[in-house]
């Protein structure tokens, strides 16, 4: 197996995918995952070493790549932040609704940080499911988010996000319905690529 220099394009795309996958598995409103270096994945506040193996199924683009990963050391406990967010949303009188996170200037209000972290983690799933050797997706912006009130204990958010695909440079609107509970984690129950509006 040929060694791939970490500076090379294909390596960085695989790393981005691995980050997205790990983010989906371990992200929460309390904390988000960000790739710091091709050799490690960084979580806010603390950097941990991560090794990942990405297996693209060549010739079978319908199949999501396999990602195996190991994280060195302990992950920081985010229960407090997660529970605070959960309680705050449950106590809202009106369903949460917001748009353009971050805004054009990169601002994210403190109240919206967990909403963004949640989108980050959920988009990890969408990215993982749609990645190939020749794609590099990043969450560019939350265009719109609306909470959907539920009768059970889960929180549900309907997002329209913008994914930036770094090879084609396209900005792709994507709808995703995200279920979350502090103890039960994240589930993307529905997601679909939206038609690109002629925003001209």
């Amino acid at each position: 197996m040929a060694e791939l220099p970490p500076t090379h394009g294909p390596a960085s795309r695989a790393a981005a995918l691995a980050t997205a996958y790990i983010s989906h598995r371990h992200g929460s409103p309390g904390h988000g995952w960000v790739l710091r270096d091709v050799r490690r994945a960084r979580r806010e506040d603390s950097t941990v070493n991560c090794t990942a193996e990405v297996l693209y199924h060549l010739g079978n683009e319908k199949s999501a790549p396999d990602v195996q990963f190991t994280i060195e050391g302990e992950l920081k406990n985010t229960d407090e932040a997660d529970n605070a967010f959960y309680n705050r949303i449950q106590s809202l009188k009106k369903e949460l609704e917001a748009e353009n996170i971050p805004d054009s200037y990169g601002n994210v209000s403190p109240e919206m940080q967990p909403i963004r972290a949640l989108a980050w983690a959920a988009s990890g799933y969408v990215i993982w499911q749609n990645s190939t050797e020749n794609t590099k997706y990043q969450l560019a912006q939350i265009k719109h988010v609306k909470q959907v009130k539920r009768t059970d204990e889960y929180l549900e958010f309907d997002y329209v996000i913008l994914l930036h695909e770094n090879v084609s440079q396209e900005i792709i609107p994507w709808q995703m319905t995200v279920l979350w509970h502090p103890q039960h984690g994240i589930e993307v129950t529905q997601n679909s690529c939206q038609a690109k509006h002629a925003l001209d």
């Binding site: 394009g9 805004d103 084609s168 925003l199």
Partner: protein, 435 residues
């Protein structure tokens, strides 16, 4: 919520102005609570009889209507102004009409006025700086503000800085380049451009900072460079696209050229150069973000630079700045063939990146375009290199995807500072190895 009075209804302008003052607090509340006033109307009633007055006062008791009395009932002949939410409009009007109480509609749609005012407030809040010392380098600016900055810089430093118009965009905006020169005739020059892709806002913002840096600090390194060379700086390389990112679509990348036969607008200015034009690594689909255009240099923004470079004939370093990804790249993008000067360029890039990282620890990777990111044809520095400009580099500035194009303004200055360190290395090397 503030209350106000409209003395007359003579002119709509006066009404609007006073209503704007009224709405100042309203606008702020709207922004904070994401409440909106779409379809809300402000009705005015001037009770002329006790019966009418009583009917209006009755409205105050009906809490479910959620009426907002801007002017409460005070007595006969005194206007009563009521903001009525959309769902309550019909019942309120019905109540007034059924009881013979005349009313007029002062404001047809409260939200429309709020929106207008917010827009104007934002514009007004940006105070117009009188000098480049009071200019705010820590925030993002509009095209008008950047062009005003350029004029200020020239006015303050007439012996060093001049502004050149090198062409016009599709939408007929002027394309400006700042020239920094201590004299001489057609000295060997360094070219820096930012903002060729309009959504990469940290680049134009950094360009502004670079301009100020050049005039401000005549430190030894820079002084040495300017003793022998000129610097050309194009801060907004894609003005039409940039204006569009402010008015319509923050994620717009391309130019704004239109062509018959397609609904889609714009050409990728970094695929429009005559180097491997139209080959793999660009799209022939006008709707694509990497559409190369109908032919090389079809875009006036690109042609302007091509013409400038060809007529100048003495540019020795060419640096085109993008975001994001944190990369320093040299040619080629259109072919895997290595450039003849690869070893030297690789070494310069290595030093430049080391200097950059030394400031804030920002991690950059470097290499040729095709190996470090992907194949891209018709790119700027492939063309400039093939023109004989050996020190041709492209930057991809912060970050690596956490904010991407939407980099917080607080990172503008640190990004510009660290990038400048890398530029100094490239410029010093060029000066020390003139060819």
């Amino acid at each position: 919520m503030s209350r106000g009075a409209v003395k007359t209804l003579d002119t709509s302008i006066q009404l609007e102005m006073r209503a704007l003052l009224l709405l100042a607090a309203l606008g702020a509340v709207a922004a904070a609570t994401t409440e909106n006033f779409v379809g809300h109307q402000v009705l005015r009633i001037v009770p002329s009889s006790d019966a009418e007055l009583q009917k209006v006062q009755e409205l105050q008791e009906l809490e479910h209507l959620q009426l907002d009395f801007w002017l409460s009932p005070r007595g006969l002949g005194n206007p009563v102004d009521i903001r009525v939410p959309f769902p309550s409009l019909q019942p309120v009007k019905a109540h007034l009409e059924a009881n013979g109480v005349p009313y007029s509609i002062m404001i047809e749609d409260v939200q429309a006025l709020v929106d207008l005012e917010q827009m104007q407030m934002l514009r007004r809040r940006r105070f117009v700086p009188l000098s480049t010392s009071t200019f705010d380098y820590t925030s993002y600016h509009t095209l008008e503000e950047i062009y005003a900055f350029m004029d200020l810089l020239v006015a303050e430093n007439p012996n060093l800085v001049s502004k050149l118009e090198i062409g016009r965009t599709t939408e007929n905006r002027p394309i400006y380049v700042l020239k920094f020169s201590k004299g001489g005739t057609n000295r060997p020059a360094i070219w820096i451009d930012t903002g060729i892709h309009s959504r990469e806002w940290v680049t134009q913002a950094s360009g502004i900072w670079f301009a100020k840096k050049i005039v401000q600090e005549q430190d030894e390194g820079l002084a040495n460079i300017l003793d022998q060379m000129d610097i050309f700086l194009e801060i907004v390389t894609n003005p039409d696209g940039f204006a569009f990112t402010h008015t319509s679509n923050r994620m717009w990348r391309k130019t704004r050229s239109k062509r018959s036969g397609s609904l889609c607008v714009g050409v990728d200015p970094n695929r429009n150069w005559d180097a491997g034009f139209g080959g793999s690594g660009a799209s022939s689909n006008p709707c694509s973000e990497t559409y190369h255009g109908p032919y090389a240099n079809s875009e006036p923004e690109v042609k302007a630079i091509v013409d400038f470079v060809k007529s100048h004939k003495n540019i020795k370093a060419f640096i085109s700045i993008h975001s994001y990804s944190q990369l320093l790249l040299y040619p080629y993008g259109y072919t895997t063939t290595a450039v003849p000067d690869k070893e030297e360029l690789h070494q310069v890039a290595k030093e430049a990146v080391a200097a950059l990282s030394s400031l804030y620890g920002t991690n950059y990777k470097y290499g040729s375009i095709i190996t470090t990111i992907y194949q891209a044809s018709g790119g700027t520095i492939d063309w400039t290199y093939n023109q004989g400009i050996k020190y041709s580099f492209t930057f991809e500035l912060r970050d690596t995807g956490r904010y991407g194009f939407l980099l917080p303004a607080s990172q503008i200055v640190p990004t510009a500072q660290e990038t400048w360190k890398a530029l100094e290395v490239i410029m010093a090397h060029t000066r020390g190895h003139l060819y």
